[in-house]
Symmetry: C2
Subunit: 307 residues, 2 copies
């Protein structure tokens, strides 16, 4: 294993090797061909698992309807991470004023209005809006992919502001949700270990905001609703979560008006893969030149080999 | 050819067939597996062309540095299309006020602040920020992909708010730019005709905003800086642009401080492919069930055939 001791060092080595190209803001990068090839291979493996479950595959755009976002209660739990999209709806005169204010560094955002959309915070959010109503007895399964935005500027390459999340999501009843979460955790750990990553599973909590958030976090931890698959990237003491398996209970069933087949409020679960983080963990483990990666890892990822 | 007379009819048929899934806002859709397979095939064909030119391949996230965006002058030309990202940087007390205002439909955007990023308006914008300085004599070529946002809500499925644009971009001198634009136009038309699309090339202009914009538009048209590859989707009189080949002159060279090898201000050109529009044109031409598409089209797109 390549020895890298800090995320600053990993960042610099990835940039020097051209795997990531800094895009002018901390946590924002262009991805190289090599990065995309590995990421594509990882996504194909998750796709194949979703297909084996007969999940409906959907790709979501990076923006989501504001009405959907509002129903997720994300703004209550993670206001510091969201990205609200604002647009200009004025005329020629307003435009002249907008340009004057932008040039003068005055209060130009006041001339914009909230759009019908916000940036997607999680790949699975649009799924629940598609489920309003009553689920079949076996529930519904979705295999989804989308770019997510989290406003947490950092030079830790594993903490990007804009990254892909792939999820296999179940919506149905409590036992189905628990079972999907457990099956998905097993699949994910096995898949990632099969790619040569050292994986551990740990109960975790989301980074809920503020004082009230501490209560939510400890409740989530106590009930073991969120299990993360973690791997050491720059630190053994603080390994990085590259996948998670989550029981949402009725968190989405209530606001989206979803019922299980027996008429109770639907429960949901998702198994989520952080594509950028998994890709980084692979580069960290196998080195910055993919042509030297172990044959079996390259084969699983569908990487072409050069002579 | 499937006869579809209006974009409302095309919209309804695509939705009924499950090719696109409406996502709660006009112009916002989830993409089905079939849609993604076709889109992936199109992107591979463009990738292969970029590779044949030895272009540097980069995938960009759907958000771009605000400083990059500001240098493109997009806000001067297309203020109505852009999406500005705003974030919450407050404390517990501010958060409580934010939630009160959201619930009370009061002026909550005033509690947000502009982020360091905006939504990407064009896939090629981040390229110019990477080119600041002097180009080699042969110029530089990039093959880039990114999700773009344009705020123009519409039920015309060919006018999505969030869509992928793939571009092969040249940065160098005037003759290199002109030559890349012409070569790319020929490649694009041939590739799209090879997929069974009826293509025409027409001089066009961007939808510049307002009164001043009309002057810019007619200048662009007169100098034939923008050539669109158009195909009839819902109308023969108003075919849809699914690719374009553009000479930017020094539009990006000046604000990004780029010089050609001879010390003059760099010129640039891009050949852009609207992945969603090309995919829609293919579904329109060959039908909503990809398993019935002509063998040679399916083979070029790498579509697996079912028995």
């Amino acid at each position: 294993m390549t020895m890298i001791d800090s995320f600053e060092e990993l960042h610099d080595r990835l940039v020097e090797a051209g795997v990531l190209v800094p895009a002018g803001v901390d946590g924002l990068y262009a991805r190289s061909r090599a990065f995309e090839s590995v990421a594509g291979g990882v996504m194909s493996l998750v796709d194949a698992w979703g297909d084996s479950l007969d999940a409906e595959r959907l790709a979501f755009p990076p923006v989501v309807a504001r009405t959907t976002f509002e129903r997720t209660n994300y703004i209550e739990s993670f206001p510091d991470l969201m990205g609200s999209i604002h647009v200009f709806r004025g005329d020629d005169k307003d435009h002249a004023e907008l340009l004057r204010r932008v040039a003068g560094e005055k209060d130009w955002p006041a001339l914009l209005e909230p759009a019908e959309t916000v940036l997607a915070s999680a790949a699975c959010h649009p799924v629940y809006a598609l489920c309003t109503g009553t689920m079949p007895p076996e529930g519904r399964l979705f295999s989804v992919l989308g770019y997510c935005f989290r406003h947490e500027p950092s030079i830790d390459p594993a903490r990007m502001q804009s990254f892909r999340m792939q999820e296999v999501v179940y919506v149905g009843d409590e036992s189905g949700a628990r079972s999907h979460r457990d099956t998905g955790l097993r699949f994910g750990l096995a898949m990632l270990r099969g790619l040569g990553l050292e994986m551990d599973a740990v109960a975790a909590n989301d980074p809920f905001f503020g004082r009230a958030g501490r209560v939510l976090a400890s409740g989530q931890l106590e009930q073991e609703l969120k299990i993360e698959g973690v791997t050491p990237i720059c630190s053994r003491e603080h390994p990085t979560a590259i996948m998670s398996a989550n029981c949402h209970q009725d968190h989405f069933g209530i606001p989206f008006g979803i019922q299980a087949a027996d008429g109770s409020v639907a429960q949901s679960a998702c198994v989520a893969f952080g594509i950028e983080r998994i890709t980084l963990a692979l580069f960290h483990t196998h080195g910055l030149d993919t042509t030297t990666w172990p044959e079996d890892v390259a084969a699983q990822l569908g990487l072409g080999r050069r002579a």
